[in-house]
């Protein structure tokens, strides 16, 4: 079997719009991707996921809890490259909108923040781990993503330049 790019797709606090867009990009690209990409981990695509030894982790969403922070650090350790996908992962917003709440709104949500052990501030991925590349946009800019995905396939030697 030819060498494939070992990919994981993950999401944290977000609306998963880029995950949906990724599923839609598959409509036009799945024939090529199924030959060149091993989707080792993608909860939206399969139940049996292997999150270890990834070439690339695509990560959507902002980080809003200690639990998510720990998980993100694990993903970083398990991946050669980590890519921030979409606005929440790249800038924190709009998931980080509660960081900007006034005193009244902050007080209103405080019991929920405590109850679910959420972090005081919602942050983009780069505040927690090294991010190798970013695809901004809400949802992600699909042209930027397609170019990056293609470049990664070439970089990891699964496709010729």
């Amino acid at each position: 079997m030819n060498k494939k790019l070992k990919v994981g797709w993950f999401s944290f606090s977000c609306c998963e719009d880029s995950t949906i867009l990724f599923m839609e990009l598959m409509n036009d690209h799945y024939e090529e991707w199924l030959k060149l990409v091993d989707f080792k981990a993608s909860r939206i695509l399969k139940a049996k996921n292997d999150e270890t030894d990834l070439d690339v982790a695509f990560v959507e969403g902002a980080i809003a809890s200690k639990k998510d922070e720990k998980k993100l650090k694990e993903l970083r350790k398990n991946s050669k490259k980590l890519v921030a996908i979409g606005s929440c992962a790249v800038t924190g917003m709009p998931s980080a909108q509660r960081n900007e709440f006034d005193a009244e709104k902050t007080k209103e949500i405080s019991f929920l923040v405590e109850r679910f052990k959420l972090a005081k501030k919602v942050v983009p991925l780069s505040k927690i781990v090294k991010v190798d590349a970013s695809v901004p946009g809400c949802p992600m800019d699909e042209k930027v993503f397609l170019k990056l995905f293609n470049d990664l396939m070439i970089e990891f030697g699964v496709k010729n330049a």
Partner: protein, 427 residues
């Protein structure tokens, strides 16, 4: 199993993150907790203080997969508050946008989430290219889903967080020169969808129990207008929905549960088909009469069949509109902000979606309330899981877990929607 605890950390092949805890003692299921694990993003608070014109695009960000439903429902609530009348052309454009959403979103669920359960594979990516049946289904998946995606892109500008629909009409109109090509693409999906309908018709998954089905009903299977009716015979104008809902606090979940008229209930495609199948598109009814006999159905797995039939309805409805429609620029209605309250109710892919907004005299949102389908289905999901675990107690934990996930997937829950804005009043 006499005593056991089953914990599913992260249910796969659904939209968003959810888990489940089941407690079995002395051979009896004692407790089921369907836990929506998405971190709250507090949209109900975030919308406060925003100008009414900015609100729909913000609320669209609640959910990537059904963003069109949030966008249009938020617009409807604001237009009702400000007494903005929708033009006939805008109505048609919104119907097309909703049709595109339903085709794309149902196809994602039917082909990518549920079909692997039917075929006995973990993922659609595992479908065997050398097996002609599986090979065809893999190609059908991306073709049908693609047609829905392209329809919404054509009409609303993008299939996720669509830029064209706004309060008062569409910011940009689609180019009618592109309609014949779209019609051709939609027509090419009919046979594929009929094959999918037949697969779900023949699927022998069964979990039947009586429950109360609730959906918007009308004369043309429209997803946006009509009365809210239940299988117990209650029928109220959609604006009165709130009077019949009871909020139920679920302390372990980052979302809320609901009862309709004091009882657990179900919303979604199965409810719509049970209550309104006679209003489907004529062309659709001609081709699916055999399958429609299954409804009304109490089998939760028929939600998949109902969704598949809805995909065909949306294709036929869109073909019929696009073949005789030429959108033209029209004057936008004059919108005057005023102190007001408005309600929007539409059928999102997973069921009835409710918006209520309160505006001040400058058009600033003072309060927003949103009730999403998955929240309404949550209590039913828990009760059904309890029954399915009880029935399967002699099986292995792995097999019980598979049955639970399969059942939950049939509900097609959307955790992004459910977790991100409901204000919970903890008791």
């Amino acid at each position: 199993m006499h005593n056991c605890d089953i914990t599913i950390e992260n249910i796969s092949k659904t939209e968003g993150h959810a888990g489940l805890d089941v407690k079995v003692r002395k051979g009896v299921v004692k407790d089921v907790r369907f836990k929506i694990l998405e971190n709250k993003r507090f949209y109900t608070q975030a919308i406060r203080g925003k100008n009414f014109l900015a609100a729909p695009q913000l609320m669209s960000r609640i959910c990537g997969t059904c963003s069109i439903a949030h966008l249009l429902c938020c617009i409807e609530s604001i237009e009702n508050a400000l007494e903005v009348k929708e033009s006939e052309q805008t109505k048609l454009l919104k119907t097309l946008a909703m049709n595109g959403l339903m085709i794309r979103d149902h196809s994602l669920h039917l082909y990518m989430f549920s079909l692997p359960d039917v075929i006995g594979k973990d993922s659609i990516l595992d479908f065997d290219e050398k097996n002609s049946f599986e090979h065809e289904l893999l190609h059908d998946c991306f073709s049908v889903k693609g047609a829905g995606n392209n329809l919404t892109k054509l009409i609303a500008g993008r299939s996720v967080h669509a830029p064209f629909p706004s309060v008062g009409g569409f910011n940009k109109l689609p180019d009618p020169k592109l309609f014949p090509e779209m019609v051709k693409e939609l027509k090419a999906q009919r046979e594929k969808v009929l094959k999918l309908i037949d697969i779900y018709f023949k699927c022998d998954f069964d979990f039947s129990r009586k429950t109360n089905f609730v959906a918007i009903t009308n004369k043309d299977y429209d997803f946006r207008q009509g009365n809210l009716c239940s299988s117990t015979g209650v029928c109220v104008p959609e604006g009165k929905m709130e009077d019949h809902l009871e909020h139920v606090v679920l302390p372990y979940s980052q979302a809320s549960g609901y009862k309709f008229e004091g009882k657990e209930f179900m919303v979604g495609a199965l409810s719509r088909m049970n209550l309104n199948k006679q209003s489907l598109n004529k062309e659709t009814k001609k081709d699916v009469s055999k399958y429609l006999k299954k409804f009304p159905s109490n089998n939760i797995y028929d939600n998949n069949l109902a969704q598949a039939i809805e995909v065909l309805h949306c294709i036929d409805s869109s073909i019929s509109i696009l073949e005789s429609f030429e959108p033209k620029p029209e004057p936008k209605p004059v919108i005057t902000p005023k102190k007001s309250t408005g309600i929007g109710v539409i059928e999102a892919p997973r069921g009835t979606l409710f918006y209520k907004v309160e505006l001040d005299e400058k058009g600033i949102i003072k309060k927003g309330k949103v009730v999403v389908p998955t929240g309404q289905n949550q209590i039913n999901i828990e009760k059904d899981v309890a029954v399915i675990v009880q029935k399967n107690l002699d099986e292995t934990k792995e097999s019980i877990q598979f049955e639970i996930e399969k059942l939950i997937r049939a509900y097609d829950p959307c955790m992004s929607c459910a977790a991100h804005f409901l204000k919970i009043n903890w008791l």
